[in-house]
């Protein structure tokens, strides 16, 4: 049974790239264009993995990550960060949210900085989903 992967990215070019990589590796892609839509899709589609962009309108990538990690329903949902900004900047943003929300979230276990080769992305997904 194929696993379902949610791709949250506002850039259509990046979305179609990731979708193609997922299809090639026989996963079922689901897409969302920003963090808000991403959360809706997670609740509705119940994906096995989320590939999440950081820089999206309204800071929604940063927020969605923090939200998922602090929501008991989704804290175990595997996430691959797939982004143009450095890990250091991302962690800084999470720290700000930690302080703001009063909850500390763990660092993402897979953080891929663009550009990413299709093989590297596929390997990361396999690692998470087996």
């Amino acid at each position: 049974m194929s696993k379902k992967v949610l791709v949250v990215d506002d850039d259509p070019d990046v979305r179609s790239f990731i979708v193609t990589v997922l299809e090639e590796n026989l996963y079922i892609p689901v897409i969302a264009q920003d963090g808000v839509e991403g959360l809706e899709k997670i609740e509705k589609e119940n994906p096995d993995l989320v590939i999440l962009d950081v820089l999206m309108p309204r800071g929604s990538g940063i927020r969605l990550y923090h939200h998922l990690k602090t929501d008991d329903r989704f804290s175990q949902l595997p996430i691959i960060m797939f982004t143009g900004i450095s890990l250091r900047s991302f962690l800084k943003s999470q720290k700000v949210l930690d302080e703001f929300k009063g909850a500390k979230v763990p660092e993402p276990d897979i953080y891929l900085e663009k550009p990413v080769d299709p093989e590297v992305l596929a390997e990361a997904v396999r690692k998470k989903l087996g």
């Binding site: 850039d11 259509p12 070019d13 990046v14 179609s16 790239f17 193609t20 990589v21 299809e23 090639e24 808000v36 820089l55 309108p57 309204r58 800071g59 143009g84 900004i85 663009k114 550009p115 299709p118």
Partner: protein
């Protein structure tokens, strides 16, 4: 004060004894000698204040003694005692410088008068002497003070960091300090009191200073000016200079010029400009690299999808990949265009055009995307504005950029309950400028973002902006002699206003060009 000492010289012992007694009782100290020769000896030994001598004596007579004493000290008071009617001797004694005469037999009253006179002469002379000495001392002190002051002033001029050159009324160099020597490259010894202003300066500068004197009737300071000095040895030195025309009692006495060498300052300024430019280049390059990287990501992704489409013979994938590639090729094209527009001076190409037509074209292009993001776009046109003379490319590029920004600001707004809209308005303002306003109710800008808007490669859109858009827009508008104005508030939205000169179209045969 010690008592006055009187030397009595007479060959008659009795007379001396009588005189001594009388004088001593009046409080004088006396010494005596019984001959001219003895008298001279005692004079030398005792240095009396007054000498009273008889004229007629065996051996050295009184006249000879007088002469000798006067040779030793011309100021010494010598009173001569003469016989009655001895006119010749008296005249001789006068010639030798005797101070007084008493006739024989010596009467106390006459003696007292003569001595009083001698005493007052001594006193006057003493006073005079004191005055003289005092005067000499005062003159010496004053001279020293003047010397000290002039030394100090000379030192001041010598040690000044400014080059100081002064000319007398004949335009001859009279002050030329070491800094001046360094600046003009000529030694002081070859210049001071030798060269005139025309020989020291280039003709151009000399003329400037000379003219100044002709113009001015009163001493005053001139503002500092900058100039490049061409020295005789071929150096070019940037200087700041000031000049004073010197007047004394309304009479022109000379001029003084001050020069400051700006070489070092200019060098530092140039260095600062260079380092600022390097920093700007660094920022520009890193911004550019970031943007190009994003395009590269798009192209790589697109080519991967095309590869997959080819392998699988999947037209859908091929089309999607190819679209991605085309989109990114367009981004490169746009970027290149922006860079070229930004880097090149460009004259606006004025032609007859209809600004409203241009806006409608833009709205056709953008409306679909805006509506997909739930943003409404509206337009309020001032229909009195028909055709104008302007560069349609400037209007198109500027408004496209600003409207795009307005749409992005709505997408970026955190308040998703807001009905986002972009309003475009045209009108003619009181300065007779044609105004294009683009107002959005999107996220707005804080002060920091607002201040960086026209910084090269600054983008508030992550990797999605080139950081050149507004910069290019601003440049195009400035070249068009227009203005761009911004009002913004975080959370409330922004308003961009472009104002361009409102020129009526050319009447003859130009109407069809613009559309």
């Amino acid at each position: 004060m010690s008592p006055i000492k009187i030397l009595l010289v007479d060959d008659e012992e009795l007379i001396i004894r009588l005189l001594s007694m009388s004088l001593q009782s009046d409080g004088y100290q006396t010494v005596s000698a019984f001959s001219g020769e003895k008298g001279l000896e005692v004079f030398k030994a005792e240095a009396p204040d007054i000498v009273i001598t008889d004229i007629k004596m065996p051996g050295m007579d009184g006249l000879t003694l007088l002469k000798k004493i006067k040779e030793i000290d011309p100021d010494r008071e010598v009173i001569i005692v003469t016989g009655h009617g001895d006119v010749d001797s008296t005249i001789m004694a006068l010639q030798y410088g005797a101070s007084d005469f008493i006739n024989k037999p010596v009467r106390d009253a006459a003696l007292a008068i003569a001595i009083e006179r001698a005493k007052s002469k001594i006193a006057i002379r003493k006073k005079l002497e004191e005055y003289t000495i005092n005067l000499e001392k005062k003159i010496a002190e004053a001279t020293e003070e003047i010397r000290r002051k002039s030394d100090f002033q000379r030192l001041l001029i010598r040690s000044s960091n400014d080059a100081i050159v002064a000319f007398d009324s004949e335009w001859k160099v009279v002050v030329y300090n070491p800094e001046a020597a360094r600046l003009f490259g000529e030694a002081a010894k070859d210049v001071l009191n030798k060269l005139t202003i025309d020989e020291l300066y280039t003709t151009k500068i000399a003329t400037v200073f000379k003219k100044q004197v002709a113009l001015e009737t009163d001493q005053r300071n001139y503002p500092w000016k900058e100039q490049v000095i061409h020295t005789k040895d071929g150096r070019q030195i940037p200087v700041r200079y000031a000049s004073n025309v010197l007047f004394e009692n309304n009479e022109f006495v000379g001029t003084v010029n001050f020069f400051q060498d700006l070489t070092e300052i200019k060098r530092l300024e140039a260095e600062l400009v260079r380092s600022e430019r390097m920093a700007a280049v660094g920022q520009t390059v890193s911004g550019l690299a970031h943007y190009v990287k994003n395009i590269l990501i798009g192209l790589k992704g697109g080519s991967y999808i095309v590869d997959v489409g080819l392998q699988r013979n999947n037209t859908e994938k091929l089309r999607s990949g190819w679209e991605t590639i085309k989109r990114n090729i367009k981004r490169i094209g746009d970027l290149t265009q922006d860079l070229l527009t930004y880097s090149k001076q460009r004259e606006p190409e004025l032609e007859n055009c209809s600004p409203h037509d241009i806006i409608h074209e833009l709205l056709e292009l953008l409306r679909e995307f805006a509506e997909s993001k739930n943003i409404s776009i509206s337009m309020e046109a001032d229909n009195s504005i028909g055709w104008i003379k302007a560069d349609p490319k400037t209007i198109h590029h500027s408004l496209l950029n600003i409207i795009n920004n307005a749409i992005d600001a709505c997408i970026e707004d955190e308040n998703i309950s807001k009905q986002h809209e972009v309003k475009i308005r045209t009108f003619v303002d009181q300065d007779h400028m044609i105004c294009f306003e683009v107002a959005d109710n999107g996220c707005g800008m804080d002060e920091e973002t607002r201040n960086k808007l026209f910084t090269p490669m600054f983008s508030s859109k992550g990797g999605k902006g080139t950081g050149l858009g507004l910069l290019v827009t601003e440049k195009l508008i400035e070249e068009h002699k227009g203005f761009i104005e911004i009002e913004t508030s975080p959370g409330a939205g922004s308003l961009f206003r472009v104002r361009l000169p409102y020129e009526k179209p050319d009447e003859v045969g130009g109407m069809e060009q613009g559309a």
